[in-house]
Amino acid sequence: MNTSGLNGVMQNAAALCEKSRACLNNFKAWVQLDSTNLTDGQQLAVKYFTVAVILFFAQILFGLLAATQFIYPGFLYEILDFNVNRMIHINAMIVWMLYGFIGCVYWFLEDESGTEIAGLKLGNIAFWVLTGAVTLVVLVYLLVQIGPGKDSSLWFINEGREYIEAPRWADIGIVIVILIFFYNVVATFSKGKWSGIAGVLTLDLVALAGLYVAGMFYMTNITHEQYWWWWVIHLWVEATWEVLVGVIMAWSLMKLLGVRRKIIQTWLYIEVALMFGSGILGLGHHYFWIGTPEYWLTIGGFFSALEPIPLVAMVVHAVYDSGTHNFKNGNHPALAWIIAQAFGNFFGAGVWGFMHTLPQINMYTHGTQWSASHGHLAFFGAYATINIAFFYLAIQHWRGDVWMGGGSQNAWRWKWALGLLNGGVLGMTIALLIAGYEQSFIERAVEGSTWGGYFTAQNHPSFQNAMVWRLFFGGMTFAGFILLVWDLLTIGKGETRKAPVIIES
């Protein structure tokens, strides 16, 4: 390349940089957010929230691509195959939820501990390292996709294990970043003051980080591999994540409704006891059919049948607290999403999980669209909702604690976003449930799970129609997401009234 060509490239790059900077400045001028309203910890939290929303977008986008391939199998064939889209769909989900949770904790850490974050600089570095790593992992998923059957593929491309596909190098990075996060939580509480919420959070994070390590090893024996794989997946989403959400919910209810700390913390302990008491051995419902001994049929069936109980308790908790405070609160969208969380968690994780958890029915539903149906409502109901509720709490504070109660401007936006997102996910859930029923009967019970049986069920009109409806409701979810982002960026803009001060009662 000659120097004039190089100069041209440099000039173009400089112009592009300048243009994007101008765009960013225009955007900042448009959103009118004043970061002086935020503490240092909260400024770190909103960085996590921003990436969470971008990944939420990726989750929906790649979900739509995969859903389209069920209807038009030739769509993006050998360009972005189903396995790539599906992998990014579920990975983006796991990661955006984790970003959301970490953001929530950084948000309330200073408030709860009564002091400044111990390692703010370290926390910021960890954020950029994690975000860089996530970007690189996704680029490799998209551009490299697969490798030869060697260890190097598992180290640098993907591990090919559902939900925790991230290559080994990224696993190690994730553990380091989580340890920095953990250090910040413990050091900040130690510097300031401990509380019941702080104690539960700390122990839960120990378990959360420790469990991830269980899924980092390669094994030839698939029974052993899936055994440990479920330790990570199940003990994350059906135990430690639920408790983490309990912690976030507890703090939010104190702030939103002014519920007394003593009541909140007692509830939190009850939930931990019920959640871990049912969820830890409820792990057994994943050990019915992977080669593990028969006693798991009894243990897994029994304890997983108890798993909905803490979720019922959480519904009672949210409804009772809202009722005793006559729904008086300072942030209507946030409270609406918290109520959506209580019910979504109960129906998605509790009812939909219970419906197919006993081995007598799971024999026929295991590995069908039943699981997809349950997965959609449970992840959305239990985890997406609480994060969205927190985004509203954060944006309110960012705008300087403005009014977000009755009579807000453009309140239709958050209401429609709430309706479209919940309606869309519920619609997908029902469509997938119908597909799951059909698959269980035709592929499993009648045809005995042969490849011929599998395709007989896939080609059946009720399955095909269900896939069309799923795509339709996926589109509705996407519309809700767009509206949600628009609302989050504009809500409270130009609002001059202050939010009411909620005091503990």
Partner: protein, 198 residues
């Protein structure tokens, strides 16, 4: 307000939470040790990798009221008898390839994975391979060039070309054969194998 009774007090539930969690976790650890020892390769439930030298079938066991793997006489894979070490290496190559090619995000293995393509738990025994004589050849060809040997069963869904080498294909087949011999407590139910009479 009256004094809070013990059962509703914060400290009672704090202790309960700690004991319940610790107790459940301890039971899980004990069960994990037991399960891992009962499912190591070469155990009754999970046969040694050299089982790929044997004929494998899956039949209904009237006494147990469930389908069980049945391991029969010699039936060499690719016409070769593998030592335990060679069998381990071949199955290992196959297992690693299924991960590197991200099979699990279309297929299910032991029922776990994605639902865009058939379950692989008993794929070795599937009637789709027409006869025992044709099976190995068909599987190698299919894995190496799925586009031109597509098995879509009228669905228009085709497996993409994943650049699988011949050695990797043989590894995958050995892995599938070994996996079909695992005692999965009767899952999948009612599966008619390539050897079953109509």
């Amino acid at each position: 307000m009256n004094e809070t009774p013990l059962w509703a007090s914060e400290s009672f539930w704090k202790k309960t939470a700690i004991w319940v969690t610790a107790g459940s976790f301890l039971i899980l650890v004990v069960l994990t040790m037991d399960s891992l020892s009962k499912t190591s390769a070469g155990s009754k439930r999970v046969p040694a990798y050299s089982v790929i030298n044997k004929k494998i079938d899956y039949q209904y066991n009237k006494e147990l009221h469930k389908f069980m793997p049945v391991i029969g006489e010699n039936e060499f894979l690719f016409g070769k008898e593998y030592t335990e070490e060679e069998a381990l290496q071949l199955v290992d190559l196959g297992k690693k390839t299924t991960q590197a090619k991200n099979c699990m995000n279309c297929h299910t293995l032991l029922g776990n994975g994605a639902y865009y393509a058939p379950d692989l738990t008993k794929a070795w025994l599937d009637k789709g391979w027409i006869s025992r004589e044709m099976r190995e050849g068909m599987m190698v060809k299919f894995l190496m060039d799925p586009e031109n040997n597509a098995r879509t069963f009228g669905s228009n869904r085709k497996m993409p070309n994943l650049d699988i080498t011949e050695q990797e294909a043989k590894g995958i087949i050995a892995f599938l054969k070994w996996m079909s011999s695992i005692d999965t407590n009767g899952f999948p139910h009612n599966f008619k194998t390539i050897d079953a009479e109509e």
